[in-house]
Symmetry: C2
Subunit: 504 residues, 2 copies
């Protein structure tokens, strides 16, 4: 796997070699080289605190730990929340004479998980010499003063997504101060605690504290680097709308011998419904799905054309023999909306399976929305589509009489709705961010939007500000899955990048 | 639910009233009325032993417990097995001057289960005053000498399927002897320990012990009564062929934002494959699937026409608003082969779900075979069908290179293959069984085949004998699912029925 990445990297070497033109980044490198173990120790401590958004006590412990990290650095931390929401950890640096304010966003909560699927417990941060997929072995942390191999990886939920920027930012503040350098802008930090739960309270929390969170630009520190390991700068994100669907068979599981051929099978019914939603090229067949998509402008189209082609290498890396959506490329495909099956269950498979007709079948779908689309409208289009397939639709458990009265019954719950967002690449502030990033990290890949769903719209709407996404994690970090990890070099690079942006 | 059953029962009352013309059955009733608590106690003891076929130590404990029950009654028990197989518990009664031998088959293993889905632990037999679905409450066993309400139900894995006939047969032997009555035939008992695992060793075990198991007729005591609560006699069974299919997406789960629209989704691919296997009326579209089906003869067709119509009532009971296979009735549909999804999984749903493209999707399918079909051939037809849908097919985990080389890859494992079987209804021995059963239980429903998969062919082939299925469980016993139960009156009726057949 590694050789395909390396083949791509060779083309980048000249750009990377000239990257250390930024004095704050140079100071950060020097500081890091003298404190590698201490930096990783602080990271390990933070990663040891479980961080699933629904586990409120764990979330509170994370927030307090981050506030303590800020307090140690004199960043005047506050936990800011609305009733029912997880706290945003806020901190700031007031700079005398500053004419603008930069806000740095990250999130400290992580995706839900099944610990059984992990090679080591997700909240016992574990260092490995290589990726688990390549046979990586667990190794102890090197002693204070020793150097970390940059290809080692730290495994834990949140290692990449998205506690790494928290550590990188705090370390960069230490490095800037130790070098006697000064900040030019007012700096704010806002670390969210429920991004993976859909940032459901972010907009309300910001709206209720507009002055506290006001900034000229929010730098959204999240997401992985480009798949060639090149630095990327991303000017938009897709929003997520999630729809959970359950279709029904018999009241309870029935013996498949006595009733097979006669009692309708809900798994087959679900398969038919899902098949009706997309054609075999991956195009969504739900009526109106693409109607409101705002097309890309010429600047964005040019940036896309300049981004290195990665599809073929990723196919090898991901063991794929085909892709959906051709002839469009991956970069083009993430600028249009998607409909994806997150998971599907009906009765049991494997050793727990038995000869039954299942009582129900459930699918969870996520739809990625691009600029122009409205999640509520799309959720309604999905519901309407299910009706056109002959289903009686309810949004809660159907009653016995409802199930008897209709040939096909579906429970459809639009769990959350989102919106896409895009900041124009030709704004002066956009161009300044590009110059600063490239002064540290060499020529960057500029993308009009990322595929993932950061809460850009939830920041822009209440504050009337702009957002730009600054990634630092390795692209093969297994985020949202088991064995999430951060490559050590990505942490080092991230510290330098944050130092440059903090002194912009 | 109960009122629909009662409406049907009213029409049967005259037949039931005249049922007690059989002296052995009368003796069994009298014995049972004096020993209700002791009979249920012996049943509870047997049901307390976990009985999943793959758990060898549990199976051995069951076999030894049943052998002890036989030894107590002087039935000369033996545990008979082939290497790797679970023991058949054999017992016999040699009758001086007997001119024929009757064998009584049951099985003591039960379907695999998920204990979390049960209202009470599956191996803690629990008495309830009504079905759990109707709000049944747990009640203690009544004291010795008190009478059981016939509508109470005993909950445990195996209560209906298929430890009930073991208890009924042993109790019937007690009753016949206590009444000073004699047997006319040689009697053999053969209680299998891996029927729910596909009876994979039954044929070999019988073939290796032909003399021991030889009989003129095997009465297969398994399956539920007809859905009107009428006694049924069933002359055949469908065989099961099980096919497990896994289709593949990316090597590991991928973030659905970064790769959604591009990385193929295996759950969607599986949905498309499943949809290709059946039309929306439930007819199987796999080429050649119906080619070898042996059609019913006129006697079987007449018996089917005489069986009470039950579809409408079952639809209400099972909360169904439609059925597959129309205009054929349930009884007609179980005489043709079926293809059923037992379970389907891909990644996770509910609280454990996350925003990923799953790495694989798995389905387990069971195919019910009728007389004339060969499971191996059908398994091959399924595999061929999957190939025609564009899949590269392997029978073990595909390699990375195989997954890269083919647009679509499926692992297809034909887990087991079966065959259907039918004994002609007009044989003299068939007619004698009908007369005996009807002398106890009134007019019976005679069915050419059951829908379920008893190992009739596996008995007939090695021994050259005939098989007839004699059910005794309630039809709403939740067999193969959670909350399996036996209605107490079905146990009482079963004891009388077995007494009549034992003295045939």
């Amino acid at each position: 796997m590694k050789r395909y990445v390396l083949a791509l990297l060779i083309g980048l070497l000249p750009a990377v070699a000239g990257a250390q033109a930024n004095p704050a980044a140079q100071a950060a490198r020097s500081w890091r080289q003298q404190h590698e173990r201490a930096i990783v120790d602080e990271f390990v401590t933070l990663l040891s605190i479980p961080n699933i958004a629904r586990d409120r006590e764990d979330i509170q412990r994370n927030a307090e730990a981050i506030a303590a990290m800020m307090a140690k650095r004199g960043l005047a931390p506050k936990l800011v929340s609305v009733p029912g929401g997880n706290p945003i950890v806020f901190g700031e640096i007031r700079t005398p004479g500053a004419t603008r304010t930069l806000a740095f966003y990250a999130h400290y909560d992580g995706q839900p998980l099944d610990a059984k699927e992990w090679a080591s417990p997700p909240f016992v941060p574990t260092l490995r010499d290589k990726p688990t997929e390549d046979g990586g072995q667990v190794i102890p942390l090197p002693p204070v003063g020793a150097t970390f191999d940059p290809e080692w990886r730290l495994y834990a939920r949140g290692a990449a997504d998205d506690k790494a920027p928290v550590i990188a930012l705090m370390t960069a503040v230490d490095a800037i101060r130790a070098a006697g350098m000064t900040f030019r802008a007012n700096i704010k930090f806002a670390f969210e605690g429920e991004e993976e739960a859909g940032s459901v309270n972010l907009e309300r929390t910001l709206a209720a504290n507009k002055d506290l969170f006001a900034a000229d630009l929010w730098l959204m520190c999240d997401a992985p680097l480009y798949q060639t390991r090149q630095q990327s700068i991303i000017f938009g994100a897709r929003g997520v709308t999630q729809v959970d669907i359950t279709v029904y068979g018999p009241r309870a599981e029935l013996h498949s011998g006595h009733y097979g051929n006669w009692a309708p099978n809900p798994a087959m019914s679900l398969a038919r419904l899902l098949t009706s939603m997309k054609d075999d090229k991956g195009r969504v067949l739900v009526e109106g799905f693409y109607d409101d998509v705002e097309p890309l402008g010429p600047v964005e189209k040019r940036a896309l054309a300049e981004a290195p082609a990665i599809g073929t290498d990723l196919m090898r890396q991901f063991w794929l023999g085909s892709t959906d959506g051709g002839p469009l490329t991956l970069n083009e495909l993430i600028t249009v909306p998607s409909l994806n099956i997150r998971g599907m269950t009906s009765s049991r498979t494997g050793a727990q399976a038995s000869n039954v007709i299942p009582a129900s079948a459930t699918v969870s779908i996520d739809i990625r929305m691009v600029k122009g689309m409205d999640g509520r409208k799309t959720g309604q289009q999905i519901t309407d589509h299910i009706r056109t397939q002959g289903f009686f639709v309810v949004d809660r458990e159907p009653t016995a009489d409802e199930r008897r009265a209709h040939p096909k019954v579906a429970k459809v719950v639009v769990v959350r709705t989102g919106a896409g967002s895009r900041t124009p690449m030709d704004l002066p502030i956009s161009q300044e961010v590009i110059r600063t990033v490239e002064s540290v990290r060499g020529r960057a890949v500029k993308l009009p939007t990322m595929g993932g769903g950061l809460p850009l719209a939830q920041v822009e709407r209440p504050l009337g500000t702009r957002t730009i996404v600054i990634p630092m994690g390795n692209h093969d970090n297994n985020q949202h899955s088991s064995d999430e990890n951060l490559r050590i070099q990505n942490l080092w690079d991230g510290i330098e990048l944050m130092a440059a942006l903090l002194t912009m």
